[in-house]
Symmetry: D3
Subunit: 230 residues, 6 copies
């Protein structure tokens, strides 16, 4: 594939993006049918951030952050920069200068399957990053990659314009065309859980609420007083 | 082994459990003779929690949290739910609804050799979890496991009713029958350390307090001014 | 190599050490020419600490912390204790008693390529530790090692008296003889970045500030509206 | 995404597939522009196999091999079965019975981002497998997945009908539409390397063959007799 | 726990042990109900060995192989030495001298959750070892452990006298009391698989042999010609 | 550090190098006092090679093999090329063309803390490589590093001219000045082990040969018939 920057990116409806941000990763992942997650090695640099935005994607070479500078120009307010690397790397490809530039353009977060540095500054700036590692290792600017091509980031396929939802549970990617449908399913799920939460808090058992006793018995589960009775 | 739920669990004396909670993991581990720890990959989802409780054990299939719902019913106030899985998994088998249910029953913590999700909510609820991973990955409810059988959780053998002690240093399992003896040994250790802490804070050296100079010399340790003298 | 304690350690100028502490790991690492970092698995036990000091080195056996007690005596105010182990280990070789002793001697931090315990106490004491693991596993005092010999700690070569800089981004080792030169280069780098930060915050692009457009075009980067145009 | 089996798969020209098989993974990866590799954790169960085939893809649940049985029916002679899992798992989802069935249908290999078992039998059968792990852990048949949808397998995006090339260096995925072009570029590369191999074997240096001396000097490389001269 | 050597070990019937050896790890694991495996990081040092024997257990300290020498004396012909360590270690605790001693006593294999060395010699001697690592790192003989106490080895609970089955798929532990029953179930499984293997080799599909089509349809699986039809 | 190639390397006596090759890694490591090993992740690409040679060192950037081409010119017959990287990388920095060039110059092996490719060809050529990974991932030639400076390779400090010993147990580095002394100590160790091997093969116990019974009893080891007696 020749290095390329794709300049036109269709984005999801901002209201849908906001709805997904509010629901959070675990709910959105369930609403999508339990797919779309990045690997659990992707962790936030500080706890408590919960965001969603449209993906601007970067395919970079390991140890080379040239294309991140290129990508900044393609970002708009509400975007999330998503960086994939052609081989495993923990190098610190991103720091507080790039974050300053992204914040100036209204970008809401970075998701990078590599390392990040200046995390104390990034925390003070409240610029959230989900990364594979924290590392001061600097990078070169020597080899081209691409911007806004489909990438695999930490095991998840991301197309430019897909909705990226991220919080303390990790990161999930919602295909742009499915975003409205997923947001609706997620809203139902949230509403549905609220009632269950109250019943559980009141001491009712999930065994009863979910009607599990019969299928468990049918599957062969036995209750015994001691293991010798088993 | 056929799937089974054992309903009768003998628990340790609550006063002993409280004593062990106060001593913390490192002290209890030393008092036991340096055994009983789970692997260091087991980490708390938020810092500062320090608990102890009686183990209710679950042996689950990877990616399947059906038996956690079954286990809730077997829990009493002061228990800790301990989940082992038959194969390595980071799936998020536990979230805020199950935590609500456990809190309603007085359970004090979860220890799970797999993933957990909804960690922002769990942190707000102050329901502490020690886990191998944080992951939004949802699970199915399709295959039976067992409740209150002996399990190996993150490398540690746990019998139902054993005392689970957990804090920022990790998790240690105290066999129920040894709990009183260990608590006593731990208390002595705490008392003993207090005196040493004061002497060390005052500038005395461990070399002198512990009488190490002679055994070090006997083992052959030499002091030289520069490496060329060695 | 015979076990030995080297008692004479030349240290860097305290003013230089202080300057390096203020610049932080990422800046110092760049100022050195992008070398000197320990592996990214070395993480602080609590966020926010930023220190520098002169290295007192320990080469210990896995699971044996005898030589740490020996090393305490060799420490002076402003030092950082650096512990390397002859084989991979996550055992908790260091806890709050040793930290009390080190604090009494004015030591500012511990860097250990193994485990640490009592992390809740260490956090309360504000004694910062960068380690490979947190583990309650206790250690024996049975086999000699050495103090103040050159060691490889988490992939980085450390000579006694080298300057250790550590913060939330990790740990970097500055050879003593290079310390003044590196501090100077780091100061220039900080000054230089300040101007760029302001321009980036004002919305200027790195592409323009760093003059990247021409080299990117020369390297063959193309801009297209859609991927079908590529 | 609803569980689905897609029955129509377009495959690449068998002559192109055979050409790619002969070139091997490293050459094909270079010919594609250094992309398309699965993660290096994917290793063959025995050395010496070198194959290529058309991908039949499976998206399975961790610990559940139901969909592999479904996928067998979709395979034709010359295909490679590619299995992705919705979450990390090392369970042994594949063994000698499934291999017998695949061999009966002319399938040439399995690529699975999970575990495999019966490896002694598979080796005797000369049925090559590239997997993430070897594990006897059995799986259930309880939850649906999909067959012949695009999947991410060990970090690589695979569409049904893409050409899978695998040897002792790992696995590379060639998009079906690029296969002929890549095979041609690979053939040129092989021819080109042959001449270089002879010159290198005769003692000529790559520095001279590739004309590196000038760019190295331009980049600032200096030759000194001892490090003190540096 | 005080260091102790338990001298009386009940062993399983040699005919049962031989039957389990012949069935291999994957079959035995299934016959037990899919439990009893050690972690998949336990790998043989050379391919092709397939053994079973009665467990003599060792609980050792990391980096210390003193108790292995003690354990040799407790071994009888047909035993397998199983070594667990109180903390993670890859040190080479076992080499060709200890293997010579074990072979002289008729021990058939070593299973060790740590490192092994002299693997070229061990391969020539045909003394099979399943280990977590290969490492030349030598160990000390300084701290006691125990022999023939229950241990957790690579995640599996092992009692002295349990039957250890090991082959290229890994290691499985069969409790002594269950051994005869498991061997019988395993034999049935082997017989049962033979018929299926022939039918699969002849081209019949598992979908039909196992009657999966109806449950798949019931679970909602749909067949479509292209993804656009989904 | 400025990029530099040091052209003058002092090498150890070839007779000493040959003696160390014959003794192998585990013996040499013990003869040195149990230091000098690289991490156990360094594994040979095929079993059975056992070599020693003088180190020519490379410090390379991750994903960039430019300096390997530079290093070839500095190699002489009997050398071992040792490659360290400034940050973790598994990229395939070395393949059969570079191996052809090294073999033409009489180089006996490669030790690389990164990836290698063309392993089938390298195996056929009998050019042994110890590496961290096998990966087809190609690299660029864009950034300078250094040749023949001291490097840390997989945790071991290597100076140019040090003796590198490698076999199936891993890799050990012998400082050039210590080589003769270590070879002598190794020879004694080999002679010493021969006698022990014969006695152990004849059924004598290490407990008796090494006189361990008394120190074990003194350390408190007790023998009991059953665990209940403990």
């Amino acid at each position: 594939m020749k290095p390329v920057v794709v300049t036109r990116v269709e984005r999801a409806d901002p209201a849908v993006v906001a709805a997904l941000a509010g629901q959070g990763v675990s709910t959105v992942h369930e609403a999508m049918g339990r797919i779309g997650l990045t690997k659990p090695w992707m962790r936030p640099i500080y706890p408590g951030a919960q965001v969603a935005g449209s993906a601007i994607t970067v395919l970079a070479q390991p140890g080379d952050n040239w294309m991140l500078h290129v990508a900044v120009e393609q970002c708009r307010p509400g975007d999330v920069l998503v960086v994939a690397v052609t081989a495993d790397s923990t190098d610190g490809m991103f720091g507080d200068l790039l974050a300053t530039s992204l914040q100036a353009r209204g970008v809401v977060a970075l998701v990078i399957d590599a390392g990040v540095r200046d995390v104390a500054s990034l925390t003070q700036m409240r610029f959230p990053v989900w990364s594979k590692a924290i590392s001061a290792k600097g990078t070169v600017k020597a080899t081209l990659g691409s911007v806004n091509v489909p990438v695999v980031c930490a095991g998840a396929l991301v197309h430019p314009g897909d909705v990226v939802v991220a919080d303390d549970d990790g990161v999930v990617i919602v295909p742009r065309r499915d975003a409205a449908r997923v947001a609706e399913a997620g809203a139902q799920r949230v509403a549905n859980e609220e009632g269950k939460r109250k019943r559980l808090a009141a001491g009712e058992l999930g065994l009863d609420i979910y009607g599990m006793r019969e299928p468990l018995a049918k599957a062969g589960l036995r209750y015994v007083e001691t293991l010798d009775d088993a």
